[in-house]
C-alpha cells in the first residue's frame, strides 16, 4: 500500500513542483487554496486536512515559510493524497511522519509514492485542555465551522490526526481542519480551525469559538 505525495513551492508563482501523480488544471485549482498560506514568523507552520472531490480523495498537507526563495511570502507545501479507500479503511496515525520540508532546495524523492507508514499512537500527544476542546469542536451538533484557540496551533497536529482516525471510515471525509496563526471568521472551507488569534468580521462572536487557553469553566461558557 502506497500513498501519493505532492510538493508545491514558488517557481513561476506558487505551483506544483514535484509529485507522484499528475494533476489536471481543475484538480490543481481545487488544491491550491489548501496548500498555500501566509506566515508572520519563520518558525510557523500549518497543517491542513480536507476532502478534495475532484480527486475523490483526501488531502493532508503541511505548509512552511520558504524564506530562502526569492519572492517574499513564498512557501513550501508537502501534501499526501489519500484515496477514498485509504481514508475509509486505514489507520492514519503515522501519516504526520511522512510530511517533510525540502532542505537546501533538494527535491529528490518527492516524485515517488511513499510506503504507508506504521501506525503511531497520537492520542496522548496533545495537552488535555486542547484535546478536550478539539473533541468538542469536532463533534459539535450543528454544521457551523468551529475555531479552537490555543497558544501554539501546531501543538494540535497529532490530536487532529487522532480525531480524524477516530471517526468511522465513512465519516472521515466530512472532517476538515486547518491549523494557523490567525483563524478566519466567516466563510471558511474548514470544519475546524485551530489558531492562536481570531481575525475577520464577526471575530467577537464567541458561540463557535472554544478558547482552550482559558480554565475549563470559562471555556464551557464560550462553547456552544
Amino acid at each position: 500500500m502506497a500513498v501519493d505525495q505532492l510538493l508545491f513551492g514558488y517557481r513561476d508563482g506558487h505551483e506544483l513542483i514535484a509529485g507522484s501523480r499528475p494533476l489536471s488544471a481543475v484538480q490543481q485549482r481545487e488544491l491550491l487554496p489548501h496548500i498555500d498560506a501566509s506566515f508572520e514568523a519563520a518558525d510557523e507552520r500549518q497543517l491542513v486536512g480536507a476532502a478534495i472531490p475532484s480527486l475523490d480523495g483526501y488531502l493532508l498537507a503541511r505548509i512552511w515559510p520558504a524564506p530562502e526563495r526569492p519572492r517574499p511570502g513564498a512557501v513550501w507545501a508537502h501534501a499526501l493524497l489519500l484515496s477514498a479507500e485509504q481514508l475509509r479503511f486505514r489507520r492514519l496515525g503515522g501519516l504526520l511522519e511522512l510530511l517533510r520540508r525540502p532542505v537546501d532546495e533538494r527535491l529528490d524523492g518527492y516524485g515517488d509514492t511513499l510506503p504507508w507508514p506504521r501506525d503511531a499512537d497520537l492520542a496522548a500527544a496533545a495537552p488535555p485542555p486542547l484535546a478536550e476542546a478539539l473533541t468538542r469542536a469536532a463533534h459539535a451538533g450543528d454544521p457551523r465551522p468551529r475555531v479552537v484557540l490555543w497558544h501554539a496551533a501546531s501543538e494540535a497536529e497529532p490530536a487532529l490526526l487522532a480525531l480524524l482516525d477516530a471517526f468511522p471510515g465513512p465519516a472521515r471525509s466530512a472532517f476538515s481542519f486547518r491549523t494557523r496563526e490567525r483563524a478566519r471568521f466567516g466563510a471558511t472551507a474548514y470544519r475546524l480551525q485551530v489558531a492562536s488569534v481570531l481575525s475577520g468580521q464577526g471575530a467577537g462572536a464567541s458561540d463557535v469559538v472554544i478558547d482552550a487557553r482559558q480554565p475549563p469553566s470559562a471555556s464551557s461558557r464560550l462553547a456552544s
Binding site: 513542483i17 488544471a25 487554496p33 501566509s38 526569492p70 517574499p72 481575525s199 475577520g200 468580521q201
Partner: protein, 275 residues
C-alpha cells in the same frame, strides 16, 4: 465603489494597495482623504512596515481574503471603496486552465471599475511574467538537456500581451456593462524617465493589447498609469535622496499626460469614470 484587481502574480497589486493605504493615512493621497477604515488593515500595516524596512511586500496567498475597504472623501463627497486583494496565482491558473475562478468571476460581475496590472520592466519580448521566477528542478534533472526537446504548447507559454487580451475577452463576457479600466504599469521606476507617456510605452511594448483596448474603448474605457509603489528597486538600492524618505513620500504615479502625481491618481480616474 467596488474595484477589482486584475493581475497575475508579482505584478504589484498588493504593493499598490499597501502604498495607497500609506498615502491615505499620511495625507499624501492628493484629492482623496481617508474618512475611516471599514475592515481589518493588519495586512496593510504589515506591508507598510516592510516598505519602511525597504523590503518588498509579501505575496498574497491563494487562501487569503484580504481586502482594502475604506471610506474616502473627495471634496464634500464621501465614497466607500472596496478592493479585494486576491492572489495573482488565481488569475494565472484561470488563464492556464481556461476556466473562470468563481470568486474572481463574481467580483468582475459586480465591479464598478477595474485595475489591470502589468509589470513595466517585464513586458519586453522574451521576459518572463514573474520577476521572482527562479528555476527549481528535482535533483538529477538537467535543464540544459531539456532545452533541446520540443515543449507542448500550453496557455502558460503565451506572452503577457496575448494573455492580457485573453483575460480582457473573458472580462467582456463576464461584465455586461461598461467597465472603466485603469491600466497600471507597475515598477515604473525601473523603466526610467526616458520611457515617455505610459500609454505610448504600452503601445510600443504591447501593441496587441493596445489595439484591443482601442477596439473596445466603449466597453472598456481606459487610462494608462505608470506606478512605483516602492519608489525604487530595493534589490539594487534606492537612489540618493530616497533612502531617508517615508514609503508614502517615495511612491508615485505617472498620469497619462506624463505628469507625476500621488498613488491615488488611478483611483481618482476610476471614480470619475465609473458609471
Amino acid at each position: 465603489m467596488r474595484i477589482v484587481l486584475l493581475g497575475e502574480q508579482a505584478t504589484g497589486k498588493s504593493s499598490l494597495l499597501v502604498a495607497l493605504y500609506g498615502a491615505l493615512v499620511n495625507h499624501r493621497a492628493g484629492g482623496l482623504r481617508l474618512v475611516r477604515t471599514v475592515d481589518e488593515v493588519e495586512f496593510l500595516s504589515r506591508g507598510l512596515q516592510a516598505f519602511g524596512r525597504r523590503e518588498s511586500v509579501q505575496r498574497t496567498d491563494l487562501d487569503s481574503d484580504a481586502r482594502l475597504v475604506v471610506d474616502v472623501a473627495r471634496g464634500d463627497e464621501i465614497v466607500s471603496v472596496e478592493v479585494p486583494d486576491r492572489s495573482g496565482e488565481l488569475l494565472k491558473h484561470m488563464l492556464d486552465s481556461r476556466v473562470w475562478e468563481p470568486d474572481l468571476h463574481r467580483q468582475i460581475g459586480v465591479a464598478a471599475g477595474a485595475m489591470l496590472f502589468l509589470r513595466a520592466d517585464l513586458a519586453i519580448p522574451g521576459a518572463g511574467a514573474d520577476a521572482f521566477a527562479e528555476p527549481l528542478a528535482p535533483a538529477g534533472e538537467e535543464p540544459a538537456a531539456a532545452a533541446d526537446e520540443a515543449v507542448a504548447w500550453t496557455p502558460a507559454l503565451m506572452p503577457a500581451d496575448a494573455r492580457t487580451v485573453d483575460l480582457l475577452q473573458a472580462v467582456l463576457d463576464a461584465h455586461a456593462d461598461r467597465l472603466p479600466l485603469a491600466i497600471i504599469l507597475s515598477a515604473w521606476d525601473r523603466v526610467g524617465p526616458t520611457a515617455g507617456a505610459p500609454a505610448a510605452w504600452l503601445a510600443q511594448q504591447m501593441p496587441l493589447l493596445e489595439q484591443f483596448l482601442g477596439a473596445h474603448a466603449g466597453r472598456l474605457p481606459h487610462a494608462v498609469f505608470g506606478v512605483s509603489a516602492q519608489g525604487g528597486d530595493f534589490a539594487v538600492g534606492l537612489a540618493d535622496g530616497l533612502v531617508e524618505e517615508d514609503p508614502w513620500d517615495r511612491a508615485f504615479a505617472v498620469r497619462p499626460d506624463e505628469a507625476r502625481g500621488p498613488l491615488s491618481e488611478p483611483v481618482l480616474w476610476l471614480l470619475d469614470n465609473a458609471a
